[in-house]
């Protein structure tokens, strides 16, 4: 069940894959939009911190390709059940997506690569609008989480300020702004101050955010800056950090409504779902391959919550094992975990009974020709297993009894030949090893690490198993 395990753990992850979204975060925007009719009358939108692009995807399908998306994230096409053909697409729609990372293209989306806190990026976006104004600015930005919570919160609030600065420059009067922010010490003040430039401000948590997640979204509706408002002075204007809540009296000093959006009777981001549900007989579970892979896996670590891990990584197939683009420790741990599970699945109960194969990060290779990611090599150490009886299987490292050989390498020896009436567990072990062999060869690219012995040679060794040693390269061994 290895590759299905995340499907069980995270219903939104599974739904995202099934419905073709690049990341589960798509549901956050969908739920917010549903609650506030954010897309009504919108043709021009800016998506800040957009990679890998699930929010842009929602914007593109809704605004450009004119598809309908319901609150559950299902694209319901149109009333007549037919997807609008390209000639029906809204060519007036303009969507600009900005991120530090590149992302794969989407219909109707103009991409910019840059730092949204940098002054020049803001100017760049303004130029792209050619004097036009935007109806909606969204920002799902999250810093490269360092693990120092206070610093991450601060950087996150700076991203929000950057986004707000851009919004104030491109939004039309009456336009809307949605941005991610962490619920943490001083941040509330920031939202409070947003009230001076937007008519309605509230603070939301979509049900697709996990319970433990500190992330929330501020939704600011109806942009109406005071006269003479100069957005370039925004930083000073909002100046956070000066105030703190020490004078707090417990009698509500600032009350900004905290709202949960999304249907509470709907899916729960924290629950473990079975793959088949009793009350959903018509729903048939099929494992779905992940959607569009991100251009740079590195984005992953930037997300504040592990829940935002993209769907591209977890599915391990032998091809992936050879070399994996995993610049961060967290990803590697994740892949290793997944891999172990995968291995376990193939081993039935056998692998659980013996040791789980050890997967080790062998090497981190530097980037190849200007690709901005790095590769790792994984190696797999097979667990030993011996069964004597009707069938024979030996798979273990057998060093020579004489320690004569300096260069001796651990060698895997595998003998298998089982008949159909061999004991059930033996068959399983053999299948398991076949599977492992495959992975191991794929992973190392070295076929000869494992020696396959056929039925004939097997006969030869059968009687004398205990004294059979693999010849080693030194040539001096007996």
């Amino acid at each position: 069940m290895g590759k299905k395990s995340k499907d069980k753990r995270d219903i939104y992850y599974r739904k995202a894959k099934e419905q073709g979204w690049r990341a589960r975060s798509a549901f956050k925007l969908i739920q917010l939009a549903d609650k506030f009719n954010l897309f009504d009358g919108v043709t021009k939108a800016v998506d800040l911190c957009a990679a890998p692009g699930s929010w842009s995807q929602v914007l593109s399908r809704k605004l450009y390709m004119c598809e309908e998306i319901d609150a559950e994230g299902i694209v319901t096409i149109a009333s007549n059940g037919i997807a609008p053909p390209p000639e029906m697409w809204n060519r007036d729609a303009k969507i600009i997506a900005v991120d530090l990372q590149p992302m794969s293209p989407l219909p109707g989306v103009i991409q910019l690569q840059g730092d949204i806190t940098q002054f020049s990026t803001a100017q760049n976006i303004i130029t792209k609008f050619n004097g036009d104004q935007a109806d909606l600015v969204v920002c799902d930005g999250a810093p490269d989480v360092s693990g120092l919570h206070d610093m991450d919160v601060y950087v996150q609030s700076q991203l929000l300020l950057g986004a707000l600065h851009i919004a104030c420059n491109v939004l039309r009067r009456g336009g809307n702004f949605v941005a991610k922010m962490f619920r943490a010490k001083q941040n509330h003040l920031l939202i409070y101050q947003l009230k001076t430039i937007f008519q309605e401000v509230s603070f939301h948590k979509p049900t697709s955010s996990r319970n433990s997640s500190t992330e929330a979204f501020v939704v600011a509706l109806n942009y109406r800056p005071p006269k003479g408002f100069n957005p370039t002075l925004l930083t000073n204007y909002l100046g956070i950090g000066k105030d703190n809540f020490d004078g707090l009296t417990g009698i509500n000093k600032f009350i900004i409504p905290f709202i949960v959006s999304g249907d509470l009777s709907g899916y729960d981001a924290d629950a473990t779902y079975p793959l088949y549900q009793d009350d959903e007989p018509e729903y048939e579970y099929r494992y779905t391959e992940p959607v569009q892979p991100p251009l740079r896996v590195g984005y992953l670590d930037n997300s504040p919550d592990p829940e935002d891990l993209p769907m591209e990584l977890p599915e391990l197939t032998p091809q992936h094992i050879k070399e994996f683009n995993l610049p961060y420790k967290r990803h590697r741990d994740y892949v290793i975990e997944q891999f172990k599970m995968l291995m376990q699945d193939h081993s039935y109960d056998v692998a659980i009974a013996s040791d789980v194969p050890q997967v080790k990060v062998e090497k981190v290779l530097p980037a190849i020709n200007n690709e901005d990611f790095n590769r790792v090599q994984l190696s797999i150490t097979l667990p030993e297993y011996t069964i004597e009886g009707d069938g024979i299987l030996i798979s273990e490292e057998i060093p020579h009894p004489q320690r004569c050989c300096e260069q001796m390498k651990p060698t895997f020896l595998k003998l298998y030949d089982y008949t159909d009436d061999a004991p059930e567990d033996l068959k399983r072990v053999c299948q398991y090893y076949e599977q492992l062999n495959k992975y191991f060869n794929e992973a190392t690219g070295e076929e000869n690490n494992i020696l396959n012995v056929n039925a004939n040679t097997l006969e030869q060794y059968k009687n004398d198993i205990s004294t059979f040693y693999l010849p080693c390269s030194c040539g001096k061994c007996e």
């Binding site: 619920r183 010490k185 950090g241 924290d270 793959l275 659980i352 530097p366 490292e397 009894p401």
Partner: protein
């Protein structure tokens, strides 16, 4: 306004700032500055003060005069006067900047202070922190790091690192009239956010580290100052890879570069960028801070595991290579007590050699040892035994007066009686293993070997022994297949056999300690097993089996708590106590012939590689690291339970790092007692069940993969905590279920455990013979259940569950049906506490994911045999906390809450005619992020609070203000 007074007593969390002084060490841990004395061998905490309120120290800078210290935290800067003799610290000045301060320092001979903030702005202050001016860099964007170089305003050079991979070099005094200050140089080469930059005036190098896992050394000619005035280039000299994750910090020293990373590695490089040493520290958690002193050969690091460690920059070692000149190939070698080496070749020639005086002498040629031989040294290292194919055994002794080797004993043997292995039991006895697993016990006496006893290994493939030792009145023998046998000296067959103590690669080492009666076994399967010998029954009993990070374990240096092992091609010395690598030497792996001789203050390691004898010598003190502060959990603590015994607080904690830890706090020191690693996945909840015997209780721990472990705590035992049973779902469909909370009670003479699960079920287990059996399941909806607890009403047990939907749900345990619910929060309920007011009235306090604190006063009623619920009143507060409320506490007078907003709040309350009246009583700003809960001990006039999350803080709350 505040009705109570809070005092922070102890903190263990990320060590974000560290400064090494002559004899002292300053550490910034949370809002507290800790002062340690430190010398070559010892260290101790001298003083601790709370510098900031709820923000943590990110930088410590000493004034040139040494009597003032500059500290910064988030956007605050403070100056303290400091006297390290009297330990007096006084606040002199403080300022709040409008932006996060990345770095600050003294300049102009302590007359002024400069600070660089996150938006690339320099603030120039007087020594009393009055702002003189701000200089804004023309590149306005956010920075993660910056370095301030040179000590005078006119010279000051700023190197700032952007999120977009660039290093910007600028000079605030360049054109002070301009609105924005020009960037003089941009260094591009990194591929991700910059995390640290270092430059030292006088050095022609700049060092930077980044998100892209690399460290870069940049080079230029001359003084950086001058280079900036010309067109001279700053070149990328070397890009260094070695870290496996982000590189958080670096320091340039005169001869070295030191870097620290997210992966818990500390790497020492030379100035050409060659990796000299890689040290694994802080339990593989993140390393946040580093400081070095080259004169004292010291590096100190502060980690995410709350620990502080000192390391030598350079382990001092002597490395020698002796070319073996003769034609033959050296096969085996051993070290003697006088540091001489004895070696045998494939031609059966025995040589004696010495690495210091560089001589090598052929002693004997034994034709019987040609092509196959065994060479073993006794533990006193004065005797050597040789054996081979033809049954011959020879013993050689070192004559201590003249340093010569002498042949002392000889056994002729039978032709073709091959000796498979040979073990010294003590300096008089050896054990050899021959064909058919026959074990011969010999005594060396008067130039002869006297056969004392023969025993035999049970039948296995490859039937020979791999290790042996005397153990009480018998002999413990490990065989080639990893089985352990215990023989007495009367029988052919073993008295006792432990199958597969280690894996099929055999047992590598056996050691018996007669005082404790403990037998330790090492294997090539990463495991160290301990057995206890019962002197009456003469039976061995398995006590523990511990897994190490290396597979091939070799031997144990008892006195030093060091294990020797092989990891790939490296020989490793591993400190058993700190679980850390002490030394790692490339040698080509354990299949080579090698010997290791640990002595009291020194050690020596020799091995053969390509006909060369390699000798490495060092002293323990030159390689060893030392803990100044012991590490604790590496990541969040999800659950923590406290017990009070003998005036001490015992804390049991489990977290994301999958470890269960036991520690003891005596009001002063926080001491780790044990670390237990049995969980497959993170631990989310703990529950204690007190047994009748006061000193014993059950501890249940549970978390990911549906795993629940039952432990017994016994405070009279040396090992307080012992695992009794581990339950986990074999069904892979269930194995993704997380156990979120646990509670236990004795009901109808049966101990029942209730587990709140992420699949919307409450599973009830009964305990039988120290095992858990699933007895019953209560099914809620497909909502993750976060909390579960029990109420008693009359003689009924009521189960209360709380899930992500914000409802308190009441179940009648007898019928298994729910009979009532209260909507307490708009989303998940993270914490609760309750009081039984009388027979049927309960007061329930909950803290939610919606930032609110809610109280519900309700009554349980019985209508015609069915239970029911009547609410009386409620109270809700959603204005105090701005993030999830993750922990609450409730007693007769007060209630408390802690939240992810890092505030600990206390309220006084009353219930008048069924109405809840609440008064805010005070707040404590903690620096523990990701707070997960609180444990509280109430005494009449005070509260003792243990707050946990990413670290722990112990806080006292005085109620009589």
């Amino acid at each position: 306004m505040a009705l109570v007074k809070f005092t922070g007593k102890l903190i263990k969390t990320d060590v974000t700032a560290i400064k090494l002084l002559e004899n002292h060490l300053l550490c910034g841990i949370g809002a507290f500055l800790h002062v340690y004395s430190i010398d070559e061998t010892a260290s101790s905490l001298l003083h601790k003060l709370r510098v900031f309120n709820g923000v943590r120290i990110y930088g410590i800078q000493l004034s040139e005069s040494g009597n003032k210290v500059l500290l910064h935290a988030e956007n605050q800067i403070k100056v303290y006067s400091m006297d390290l003799k009297s330990l007096e610290f006084k606040e002199i000045a403080c300022v709040e900047s409008s932006d996060w301060v990345l770095r600050a320092k003294w300049i102009d001979s302590d007359e002024n202070i400069v600070a660089i903030s996150m938006h690339n702005v320099i603030e120039y202050y007087t020594k009393d922190l009055e702002l003189k001016k701000s200089i804004v860099c023309e590149e306005r964007c956010i920075l993660y790091c910056a370095n301030l170089s040179y000590n005078r305003w006119e010279d000051l050079v700023v190197l700032s690192g952007t999120v977009f991979s660039e290093v910007l070099i600028w000079k605030p005094s360049f054109d002070e009239g301009a609105e924005l200050c020009k960037v003089l140089r941009r260094l591009t080469g990194h591929n991700g956010v910059l995390f640290s930059i270092h430059h030292v005036p006088g050095m022609e190098l700049i060092c930077t580290t980044s998100d892209d896992r690399s460290v870069i050394l940049w080079q230029f000619d001359g003084e950086l100052q001058d280079v900036l005035k010309t067109n001279e280039e700053i070149r990328l000299k070397k890009r260094m890879y070695g870290h496996k994750a982000r590189v958080f910090g670096c320091q340039l020293l005169t001869n070295h570069v030191v870097s620290i990373g997210e992966d818990g590695f500390l790497i020492v490089w030379d100035l050409n960028g060659n990796l000299l040493r890689k040290i694994e520290a802080h339990q593989n958690g993140r390393i946040w801070s580093v400081d070095c002193s080259e004169e004292r050969n010291m590096i100190v690091t502060g980690g995410g595991d709350s620990g502080v460690i000192v390391f030598p920059i350079k382990p001092l070692m002597m490395i020698d290579h002796l070319e073996f000149q003769e034609k033959a190939t050296p096969k085996h070698l051993v070290l003697l007590e006088n540091n001489d080496i004895v070696l045998i070749t494939d031609k059966g020639c025995v040589y004696q050699m010495n690495s210091e005086s560089d001589w090598c002498r052929l002693m004997w040629t034994f034709e019987e040892f040609e092509s196959y031989s065994l060479l073993e040294v006794s533990s006193c290292r004065k005797m050597i035994a040789l054996a081979g194919f033809k049954g011959v055994i020879r013993v050689i002794t070192l004559n201590e007066s003249n340093g010569k080797l002498e042949l002392t004993a000889y056994h002729r043997g039978i032709e073709k009686d091959r000796t498979y292995s040979l073990h010294w039991l003590n300096c008089k006895h050896i054990l050899t293993c021959g064909i058919d697993g026959l074990l011969y016990l010999w005594r060396i006496e008067n130039g002869a070997l006297i056969l004392l006893h023969i025993s035999q290994l049970p039948k296995i493939k490859e039937r020979w022994s791999t290790a042996a030792c005397l153990c009480g009145k018998g002999i413990a023998v490990g065989d080639r297949k990893g089985n352990l046998h215990y023989y007495d000296l009367h029988d052919l067959n073993p008295m006792q056999t432990f199958k597969r103590t280690h894996n099929h690669l055999g047992i590598t080492n056996l050691h018996y300690d007669s005082t404790s009666g403990i037998l330790t076994t090492l294997g090539r399967n990463s495991r160290v097993c301990k057995f206890k010998l019962d002197s009456h029954t003469r039976q061995l009993e398995l006590l523990t089996s511990d897994k190490l990070p290396f597979t091939w374990l070799c031997s144990m240096v008892q006195e030093k708590r060091i294990i020797t092992a092989f990891s790939g091609n490296d020989f490793v010395l591993w400190d058993y106590k700190t679980r850390r690598v002490v030394l790692q030497l490339g040698c080509g792996g354990g299949h080579r012939s090698w010997d290791f001789n640990p002595k009291h203050s020194k050690f020596e390691y020799v091995y053969i590689k390509n006909k060369t004898i390699n000798v490495i010598k060092s002293e323990w003190s030159c390689i060893n690291s030392r803990d100044i502060i012991k590490g604790f959990h590496v990541n969040e603590i999800n659950s923590l339970r406290c017990l009070k015994r003998d005036g001490c607080i015992y804390s049991l904690s489990g977290g994301e790092d999958t470890t269960l830890r036991i520690a003891k706090y005596d009001g002063q020191n926080f001491e780790n007692i044990d670390v237990l690693k049995s969980h497959l996945s993170s631990i989310r909840c703990l529950n204690l069940y007190q047994l009748e015997d006061e000193s014993k209780c059950f501890l249940f721990s549970a978390g990911g993969r549906g795993q629940i472990i039952l432990w017994q705590l016994d405070f009279n035992k040396e090992n307080i905590c012992n695992q009794l049973f581990s339950y986990y779902e074999a069904d892979s469909n269930l194995s993704e279920v997380r156990v979120m909370d646990l509670c236990s009670a004795k009901i109808n003479d049966e101990v029942l455990l209730f587990a709140a699960c992420s699949d919307g079920k409450i599973k009830i287990y009964s305990m039988q013979n120290d095992e858990l059996k699933l007895a019953k399941t209560l099914e809620y909806k497909l909502k993750c259940i976060l909390k579960v607890t029990l109420l008693t009403y009359e003689d009924e047990t009521i189960v209360v569950s709380m899930a992500t939907d914000g409802y308190l749900v009441f179940w009648d345990l007898k019928t298994g049906y729910k009979f009532g619910e209260i909507k307490a929060h708009i989303s998940g309920i993270n914490s609760f506490a309750f009081r039984k007011m009388n027979e049927d009235i309960f007061l329930f306090l909950t803290g939610g994911d919606d930032n609110a604190l809610t109280m519900n006063l309700f009554k349980i009623v019985r209508n015609e045999n069915e239970l029911g619920l009547e609410t009386i009143s409620d109270y809700s507060n959603d204005g105090t906390h701005v993030a999830q409320v993750s922990g609450v506490y409730l007693d007769e007078e007060y209630f408390m809450a802690t939240s992810l907003d890092q505030k600990l709040t206390i309220f006084k309350y009353d219930i008048l005619n069924g109405t809840i009246l609440v008064r805010y009583a005070g707040v404590y700003n903690s620096t523990i992020s990701d707070a997960k809960g609180i444990e509280v001990f109430r005494s009449e006039k005070s509260l003792e609070i243990v707050l946990y999350g990413l670290g722990i803080e112990i806080i006292n709350c005085n109620l009589s203000v």
